[in-house]
């Protein structure tokens, strides 16, 4: 009964969605949101009650799966995650109706809802016709379920997909804005101002999603890595980079009424990348451990829809953008130019990651053989780009709009001097590589330059607090990456209980082995006592779990962390003589990476908050 209700709810949501295309009414949006919520609720109920007549429940759940993860299984598989996608789109649209509709000119708001209706119709149709999570298959024998993959049975599952999807899907709003603006024929300052929140919020969610994904992979995969240039990871980084460019371009469009074409184009590009990402993960076109196992016919539908939607948008863009009225007076040395350079650098980064990820397909399609593109390629090209962006980040806030003297650069003498001094000192004390020095220099550069800017405008600093915090966040992120990459070490060894090992200036004493029974797994824990300079500072539990349903062994590394570094132990196999294979990792500054990322997100939210507080009384 409930599965049928679920399907029926989706059909109703589709009706509202179609209505939304033609009438752009808020009521259609709310109708969609309500019925998709009902559908998701139905799916969760099916999972909680373990209704194994629903194929999705069979494939992704198990009677012994803890309740927590049964709910997470709602988006652990392709069909459920697609329902989540549609649901989140309806929530964003509803949010826009409540908070943003009135702030934009009616023409734009209405056209935005129509565009959103077009997108949601396409996706709900895709859901209904090819990927219905409520598909029933009555079993003939007793079924217990295939269980959720052990690697997904982690708190990260509850948090990471919804947050990440909120980011991906939220990009639809600025896309809808771009379409509405193209149809209208111009973009006013007020329009641009109203759109700001609808790009910063998704950008923040994407940032959080990426950070949480990195953190989850670090904890779960057992070799202390936090980024792998995996195609699916790249798929989430691409829209984030583009959204960053869009954010900055929008600011210029609002303040100076220029870059209108760039803003519109970037909004289209960002959503395109988001859709391509959604496609890549489920089409089987790329090999990735993150990908949903899927058949190419689903990929065909999705790709077809996306081609028509984006092709149409870009066609509209090419016909209408020329008619836009805007300001164009700015000199070669001006903040406008700096921000345009920033857009170019970020787009180059997007281009690089895109071409690196898709190149194997290109060569294969042209029958030119099979190559693989991995970390060495991305690091080689991406790192210099990032260094240039950091350079620009330190300069741009100090340059005036429209026209400035190059002598202004001399004002940045202090940050330059101090950054150089820091680099010099570090290179004396520690061993460093060229990249280490560059990383430290540019991170310090951004940090000090941003602080100098904050001091300069201290009376107005609240207004710009978002930017200041976000840029500092990036500096911390860059510093964390630099130190982490340079000074990480690891050691693999065989150790008996009651033996001790020295590593990274710490002593690790293998105290004992614990065995435990979890809800759907058995666990073996190796307990290590950690000493630093003869003082006991903590305990690390490196665990191995054997999940009974899949007969799979999953390693849960033990981590002891503080502000500066992580000590990380992953447990391997037991040897016949009673010793264990163990891998120790020293990961300095890895928490700075995520903290920096979160700080950047915070900066974005801060800027929205400050805006909102200012506009409230008015």
């Amino acid at each position: 009964m409930i599965p049928e209700l679920g399907t029926f709810a989706i059909i109703l949501a589709l009706c509202f969605s179609v209505l939304q295309i033609f009438h752009g009414r808020q009521s259609a949006v709310f109708g969609q949101a309500i019925f998709l919520s009902m559908a998701m609720l139905s799916l969760i109920i099916c999972l909680i009650t373990n209704d194994v007549t629903v194929l999705y429940v069979r494939d992704h759940s198990h009677f012994s799966l803890p309740l927590f993860y049964r709910i997470g299984a709602a988006w652990g598989g392709h069909e459920g995650s697609l329902l989540l996608w549609c649901l989140i789109l309806s929530y964003w649209s509803a949010l826009f109706c409540i908070f943003g509709y009135k702030k934009m000119s009616k023409q734009i708001s209405e056209k935005m809802l129509m565009t959103l209706g077009l997108i949601s119709t396409g996706f709900i149709l895709f859901l209904l016709l090819t990927s219905n999570p409520f598909f029933r298959d009555f079993p003939t024998a007793l079924i217990v379920g295939n269980d959720l993959m052990p690697v997904l049975q982690d708190p990260g599952l509850i948090f990471h997909p919804p947050v990440l999807y909120s980011g991906y899907v939220g990009c639809a709003l600025s896309f809808a804005f771009a379409i509405a603006v193209l149809i209208k024929g111009n973009m006013t300052t007020a329009d641009a101002r109203a759109c700001r929140i609808w790009i910063i919020l998704p950008w923040s969610f994407l940032g959080c999603g990426i950070v949480s994904g990195s953190w989850w992979a670090y904890r779960e995969l057992g070799w202390g890595g936090w980024w792998f240039w995996d195609p699916v990871e790249n798929a989430s980084l691409l829209p984030w980079l583009s959204a960053t460019a869009l954010l900055h371009s929008l600011i210029v469009s609002e303040k100076r009424h220029t870059f209108l074409g760039w803003t519109v184009l970037l909004a289209i590009i960002t959503f395109t990348l988001s859709l391509i990402g959604t496609f890549l993960v489920r089409s089987g076109v790329l090999v990735s451990v993150h990908a949903f196992a899927n058949d190419p016919t689903r990929g065909l539908f999705l790709l077809g829809f996306l081609t028509i939607l984006i092709g149409g948008s870009l066609l509209l863009y090419s016909f209408r953008i020329g008619k836009f009225y805007q300001n164009v007076n700015f000199a070669l040395f001006s903040r406008e130019t700096m921000l345009l350079l920033n857009t170019i650098l970020l787009l180059t980064a997007v281009f690089t990651i895109l071409i690196g990820t898709l190149y194997p397909i290109l060569l294969d399609a042209l029958n030119l053989g099979k190559i693989s593109v991995g970390e060495p390629y991305f690091n080689t090209i991406f790192i210099p780009l990032v260094l240039f962006v950091l350079l620009l980040m330190g300069i741009a806030p100090h340059i005036k709009w429209q026209k400035d003297q190059t002598s202004t650069l001399l004002k940045l003498g202090l940050p330059f001097l101090f950054s150089s001094m820091i680099v010099a000192s570090v290179s004396f004390i520690f061993s460093t590589t060229l990249y280490t020095l560059l990383g430290i220099f540019f991170s310090a550069w951004v940090l000090l330059s941003t602080l100098q800017y904050a001091i300069k405008i201290r009376k107005n600093s609240l207004r710009h607090s978002g930017m200041i915090v976000a840029h500092i966040g990036i500096a911390i992120l860059a510093l964390g990456i630099t130190f982490n990459k340079t000074y990480s070490t690891e050691k693999q060894l065989r150790i008996h209980p009651n033996e001790s090992i020295q590593f990274a200036n710490h002593d690790f004493y293998f105290d004992r082995i614990n065995t435990n029974q979890g809800p759907n797994y058995q666990s073996v824990q190796a307990i290590f006592l950690v000493q630093h300079q003869k003082k006991l500072i903590g305990e690390i539990d490196a665990e191995q779990r054997i999940y009974t349903s899949h007969d799979e062994i999953l390693s849960h590394p033990g981590i002891l962390f503080n502000f500066w570094r992580d000590l990380y132990i992953a447990l391997g196999n037991r040897f016949p003589d009673g010793s264990w294979s163990v891998r120790l990792y020293y990961r300095p500054f890895v928490r700075w990476i995520w903290s920096g990322g979160l700080l950047t997100v915070l900066g974005g939210l801060l800027s929205v908050l400050v805006r909102y507080k200012k506009e409230k009384p008015a």
Binding site: G284, A291, L341, T348, I355, G369, K370, N573, R583
Partner: protein, 131 residues
């Protein structure tokens, strides 16, 4: 076949026996470094998004063993790479080789940014709409 392939990789990926039974000891840090370089720059062909160092696939384990033996025998990094490429093709290299076919890959970004900057400067130079 594709579905079981992905399941196989997830299985191996999550197992983390990480060469659990292979502990390699070398005669010098130079050999150790050589091993690390090779195993991190070569792709595992079974779990294709992991390098040989990280992968738990039996093939990865076999290849690590072979690389280990060859390093002890004193073979150079390039010799070992040639040996593996002769059997598995370019795909085993994580770093795409610089060839005519990969020209676009390696120089594409540079071309992109150079062209973009040229367009930028020309547009700013004249008094036209930047759009």
């Amino acid at each position: 076949m594709k579905k079981s392939f992905v399941v196989l990789c997830l299985f191996l990926f999550s197992q983390l026996l990480f060469a659990a039974n292979d502990i390699y000891s070398f005669h010098s840090t130079q050999q150790q470094n050589q091993f690390e370089t090779l195993t991190t720059e070569l792709r595992c062909l079974v779990c294709q998004n992991q390098n040989l160092a990280e992968s738990n696939a039996p093939l990865a384990s076999d290849l690590r063993q072979q690389i280990y033996q060859k390093i002890l025998q004193g073979q150079s990094t390039q010799d070992i790479i040639n040996y593996l490429v002769a059997r598995y093709g370019d795909f085993i290299l994580y770093q795409p080789p610089l060839r005519v076919t990969t020209f676009l890959l390696w120089f594409g970004p540079l071309l992109f940014i150079v062209i973009a900057i040229i367009i930028l400067f020309r547009a700013i130079g004249s008094d036209r709409n930047i759009a």
